[in-house]
Symmetry: C2
Subunit: 112 residues, 2 copies
DNA sequence: TCTAAATTTCGATTACTATCGAACAATGGA
DNA sequence: TCCATTGTTCGATAGTAATCGAAATTTAGA
């Protein structure tokens, strides 16, 4: 049983969160997580190979954006909505709402 | 008279804005601009040398976060508050409010 | 025209990061 | 126990970026 590092709420840093979400692929991952309830890595539809997806989910986890719940060989992903809302009010919603309204999402999906 | 590139409002991309603001120095610069009305590069208090500051203001400008107004040898900086609010509602405020409430700002000032 | 002031550009260095494929690890089921 | 599934780690590569000091640029003023 492997221990996955998740920063405590107080350890979540703004610049790390923004950095994690400044990559279009990671924005897409976060957006997919918000849409589907607790997807696994395997069900997330992103235009990269699985090792790259793994790298991105790790970045999101270590920044404090996502929580990873291990069950068997699967990892269930969820956004740390409450922690982020308490620490940076309004931030996550404004980012994901903006992303979903933007062209960036569509361009990524087309590349796939 | 040099032309400085500023993206049109519609050309401002979310990932570029987040990337620009994911650097602590640039968060500090944006925070200083919001506080003081149209500061020049020379009056902004950041713990880097002037050529590095120039690099950062360029990044912020090209991402569409700041407007640079040239007057003589000085460049007056302002946030593109209205453009950003129209394109990404609530985003800039939530970022800068979070930054100013955080420890990250204090740590940067101490390093100076 | 010369000089000082404000800022940028350039060159170099160092460090990080996105990506892939291959190998590895862990789990659950046949 | 063997195998398929799920996901991570590793090694390599290529691109990007933060930083500094020195040199260049641009403008205002003496």
């Amino acid at each position: 049983m492997k221990m996955l590092y998740h920063p405590d709420r107080a350890e979540i840093h703004l610049s790390s969160v923004l950095n994690a979400l400044s990559d279009p692929i990671r924005l897409l991952i976060a957006s997919e997580i918000r849409k589907s309830y607790e997807p696994t890595c395997g069900t997330i539809d992103v235009p990269v190979v699985k090792s790259t997806l793994s790298h991105h989910t790790r970045t999101l986890r270590e920044a404090g954006v996502v929580n990873v719940r291990v069950q068997g060989t699967q990892r269930f992903l969820s956004l740390r909505t409450e922690d982020l809302e308490l620490r940076f009010p309004g931030l996550l919603s404004s980012i994901l709402d903006a992303f979903e309204a933007s062209d960036e999402k569509k361009e990524l999906m087309n590349a796939h």
